[in-house]
Symmetry: C2
Subunit: 175 residues, 2 copies
Amino acid sequence: MQYWFACFVTFLIADADKTLTNMKQLKPSILNLERFLPYRISILSNRLSAIIAQTYKNKFALSITEWRIMAVLGEYAGSSAEEVSIKTQVEKSIVSRSISKLLNRHLVSRTVDANDRRRQNLTLTETGEDIYSQIVPVSYAYEDRLLACFSAQERVIFDGLVARLYRHAEKIDSE
Amino acid sequence: MQYWFACFVTFLIADADKTLTNMKQLKPSILNLERFLPYRISILSNRLSAIIAQTYKNKFALSITEWRIMAVLGEYAGSSAEEVSIKTQVEKSIVSRSISKLLNRHLVSRTVDANDRRRQNLTLTETGEDIYSQIVPVSYAYEDRLLACFSAQERVIFDGLVARLYRHAEKIDSE
DNA sequence: GTAAACTAGTTGCTAGCGCAACTAATAATA
DNA sequence: TATTATTAGTTGCGCTAGCAACTAGTTTAC
């Protein structure tokens, strides 16, 4: 057992005791919002989004949704709107409207698919690629700055727990 | 060092190695949305909210915002709109409009404060209390169901990491 | 080969969010 | 005490989200 693990675990035990003590003070007939997990995740998400939305808007005049679409196209050029919708988890009508804006700004181009004329293949234009390559490091920098409050081990733990909770919620959702 | 800690830590090390391996496969000039923390938190939050929003809407005809306001008033009767706004992290104009709806439905009542006639003290009505006491157990049940994918220890860890990240984001935000 | 079912993408409509401007009341300052 | 600044709450407005209906193209099944 390495030293950092011992430290980490000690910290966790202290934290656990504190939390359990707090929990006992609560009447079960009252719900304390600040301790309610979905609420906490929601305000965390809002705060993270607000910070990054500001940056994208100021520096690149893009909404988070628009950036997400570009992010998918930067990685998977030639995706359809449907595929973008799935990857970004953005509803298809919103994708459609966002793509219109990106087309107007010549950040994205589209061509009707030869084999399936319903389908339209989307690609970043040269300008789009250019902006994309500017945003990527900004995004990574933001992520790093956020994660500065975690140790490398904690990052991994957090990542794992988030992923597990997400998959679990998906399961609950599909029931 | 207790046994479960050893098991847990072993699991974490395995997970860390896997993640680090994956990370090395990434070109730094491309951003993979699915690995980007703010995105992951965002879709997690959306999913958690969507599930609970459905329940509140179906069973009680309340939006999440309306429920959050009631949750604050259930715990702190006589709060002002301002205080509700701070506690719920909901913008004051939205609080104002939501309160109008709750007043119309006679779930909340308000009285002008005697000492400060700008301020209005908000309280749940009897009907409001009644609905509140029905929602609380439903919310706790949902939270328990979500957290079923974590061990007691993991819950505490997750809680702590979420809290830390939130505080850290607050700090970043205020700079 | 044609009708029915399905799929891709767009558009109409409603509701909620959030900024900013506004009203009314109070507190601070000179 | 008069002027100014501050605070509580409401309202106007534009934007986005998301459901549902729609168009157009494709596949399935008889």
